[in-house]
């Protein structure tokens, strides 16, 4: 006689505190021309319909936002920045060259825009979203909602409907912008929802380097949030270097949906640096849409305390002979946690593609945790795709070696961590960005 297997039923009670919803209303949507208005109306409709994501969704399984005080957040009124901490001076300095071709500073309820006249004479548009809505409606129609679908989730719908401001960059056909363009989103203040929308179109044969940096002071005990959409189009034979840095304060909940589409023969060198926020959930997608398109994604992150950073990347090979190369490296301290979830997708017919993804993590404390989940979905048969994921600890032998030369423990650890990140530094063509990352390491390890 076989015994019947025992059935054990266990119930885990979810906390009764219901997730609070946002209090934003249709009246908070900024007015715009027909095209803009209809885009925002569809985003608003998605926003109303879509629930706040919870851990039952695969993409959010490792990132729990039930503590997000959504009902507390307000939009900053016009001129709010005047009563808040001013933008840190160091953020305004050029990072990738001696000087900027243009700079935009987005502030709560305000903006500052500068662009070299020589560039505007060539037809380059580099301005804030509000100005573009007034002055360049036709251009917006070619950029808004072209790569990121507001239906992707609650936060893309939120950013689509309520963007307070943003950046619009257009580089006309064949124009090479030598001096880099730079924007800073400075988000001081408690209980504020900073909502931004970044739009880039690099037209055929054009090239540009663009650095976008989001930052805020640390506000202990407070909560703020940032939601953004980043839409990038690199047209035929165009090239773009895009550096995105975030050093949000520890009180900021940071959400972004980003997607770049690269057309035939185009190339995108996309660099991420993330050290801030309480929690980040970032979706970054690269669509290699035209034959021979190339994309490289390089990510640097360093978490400490109880930070939680989640980067969800997707490399979509949609055409033959496309190449993607992703390397994300992160270090973790304290009780912090990182998640990297990556996918290489190769569409049917996208033959001769070459896709690479790797995620390496260095866990510097026993209580920190890194999750690394690579993935491949290949529907073509003549491709080369490789991936790798590792989570390691600081090794004793290099530390002992360094110490045996008189270098104290803390400095030895810093050297080993810098060495760990070196493959990322090797991929960054800008000394200033490398120095910034080194500074991040020094700050995090001090």
């Amino acid at each position: 006689m076989q015994e019947k297997p025992k059935v054990i039923v266990s119930r885990t009670r979810r906390p009764e505190t219901a997730v609070k919803g946002f209090n934003f209303t249709e009246a908070d949507i900024r007015a715009g021309n027909d095209f803009v208005a209809s885009y925002r109306a569809s985003a608003w409709s998605a926003f109303k319909r879509l629930p706040l994501p919870d851990t039952s969704l695969e993409a959010w399984r490792r990132t729990d936002i039930h503590a997000l005080p959504a009902d507390k957040f307000k939009f900053a009124p016009e001129g709010a920045y005047k009563d808040l901490s001013p933008v840190r001076e160091d953020l305004l300095r050029p990072l990738v060259a001696d000087q900027h071709g243009g700079q935009i500073v987005l502030l709560p309820g305000g903006v500052k825009v500068e662009l070299d006249e020589k560039l505007s004479a060539k037809g380059v548009i580099f301005t804030d979203l509000r100005t573009a809505e007034e002055k360049h409606p036709d251009l917006l129609a070619k950029m808004l909602g072209k790569t990121v679908n507001v239906e992707e989730g609650k936060f893309s719908a939120l950013a689509g409907a309520f963007a307070r401001n943003g950046v619009v960059l257009y580089v006309p056909k064949g124009v090479t912008v030598e001096e880099p363009l730079h924007s800073v989103l400075w988000g001081p203040g408690p209980d504020i929802a900073h909502i931004s929308h970044i739009l880039v179109l690099v037209d055929e044969g054009a090239s540009v380097t663009y650095v976008h940096e989001a930052a805020s002071p640390d506000l202990k005990g407070a909560n703020s949030m940032h939601a953004s959409i980043v839409e990038i189009q690199v047209m035929e034979n165009a090239s773009m270097k895009f550096v995105e840095l975030q050093s949000w304060g520890r009180h900021v909940w940071n959400f972004s949906h980003e997607r770049a589409r690269v057309e035939r023969g185009g190339s995108l060198d996309w660099i991420f640096g993330a050290i801030g926020s309480r929690l980040t959930k970032n979706f970054s997608e690269l669509d290699l849409a035209g034959e021979g398109a190339q994309g490289r994604m390089s990510g640097f992150y360093f978490t400490d305390g109880d930070q939680h950073l989640d980067h969800d990347t997707q490399q979509n090979h949609l055409a033959p002979h496309t190449t993607s190369d992703l390397l994300f490296k992160g270090a973790l301290k304290g009780k912090s946690r990182s998640v990297w979830q990556g996918m290489i997708y190769v569409a049917p017919g996208a033959q001769k593609t070459d896709g690479y993804q790797a995620n390496r993590n260095l866990v510097l404390s026993d209580q920190a945790r890194a999750d690394s989940i690579p993935g491949l979905e290949i529907l073509a048969d003549d491709v080369r795709c490789t991936h790798g994921a590792t989570v390691g600890k600081l090794e004793q032998e290099p530390l002992f070696y360094l110490k045996s030369r008189g270098i104290p423990q803390a400095e030895a650890e810093k050297i080993v961590v810098e060495g760990f990140f070196d493959p990322i530094f090797q991929r960054i063509p800008f000394e200033g960005v490398r120095e910034r990352f080194q500074q991040y390491i020094a700050d995090k390890m001090s």
């Binding site: 004793q396 070696y401 045996s404 060495g419």
Partner: protein
């Protein structure tokens, strides 16, 4: 004149006793060689003197400049004037030989004066150039990542260059197994012979007598079973080359049994 005095040193690895009461004094200006069969604790001695965390000292003292260095961290021992040339130095990717040496020099300067701004770059370049010329090294070497992809010989060169730059008073050369690689061995020997002087005391640890054809020791010690069992002049090494370790092992085991 400083000396490194090892007294009754007992060391465990993972609970197993490897060094069982070792006594030895190494003076500045002299070369001591420790020889012995495999598995007798020679590398353990080298690592313990430098302060590797896996080696637990259960008894004994190591006195240098009036301090028991067993109480010091490896970096403090280094700054006090002790150097270990590793048998298998690890790669430090992302740090060039030059930057590494500058960091090590600056760590010394800052330990003396926390306000120190570090060695001025031109002064450092000059120093490095001199040392590399003295050791007949290619200047390109300074720009490579430390030990990263280095051949066995290059690793030895890098160790000797570090020794030349950091100017220790006592250098421990762990060459336990390297007797088979004649080139590496010559590099080490040439380096030591170049740097040797009244301010440098050397403790060279080797399994093979061959290294001592290139480095002339003032004293030779034989280590068996975690202790020094025989000490003598250079002729002891020749004797070992001729007769092997068996005779000494037998003698030692007899003594042990009698005790």
């Amino acid at each position: 004149m400083s000396q490194l005095e090892i007294k009754n040193l007992h060391v465990n690895i993972e609970g197993k006793e490897i060094l069982k009461g070792l006594d030895l004094t190494v003076e500045q200006g002299k070369v001591h060689a420790i020889m012995g069969p495999n598995g007798t604790g020679k590398s353990t001695l080298a690592y313990t003197l430098m302060g590797h965390p896996s080696y637990a000292v259960t008894e004994g003292d190591v006195i240098f400049k009036g301090q028991n260095i067993l109480e010091l961290e490896p970096d403090e021992r280094s700054r006090l004037g002790i150097f270990l040339a590793f048998q298998y130095p690890v790669a430090i990717p992302g740090v060039t030989v030059a930057n590494f040496l500058r960091t090590a020099i600056n760590a010394r300067r800052r330990a003396e004066n926390p306000e120190d701004k570090g060695i001025p770059i031109p002064e450092f370049r000059k120093l490095l150039k001199e040392k590399m010329a003295m050791l007949k090294m290619d200047q390109n070497f300074a720009g490579r990542y430390l030990n990263d992809g280095f051949s066995g010989g290059e690793k030895k060169r890098a160790e000797i260059l570090q020794m030349a730059t950091l100017q220790p008073e006592i250098a421990i050369l762990d060459e336990t197994d390297s007797g088979l690689d004649i080139d590496a061995l010559r590099i080490v020997a040439d380096g030591v012979n170049t740097l040797m002087g009244k301010d440098l005391g050397v403790l060279v640890i080797t399994h093979y007598q061959r290294l001592l054809n290139y480095i002339k020791p003032d004293y030779v010690h034989v280590m068996i079973g975690g202790r020094i069992v025989e000490s003598g002049g250079p002729d002891l090494a020749l004797h070992l080359e001729e007769k092997g370790y068996e005779w000494i092992r037998e003698k030692y085991v007899e003594e042990e049994a009698a005790a």
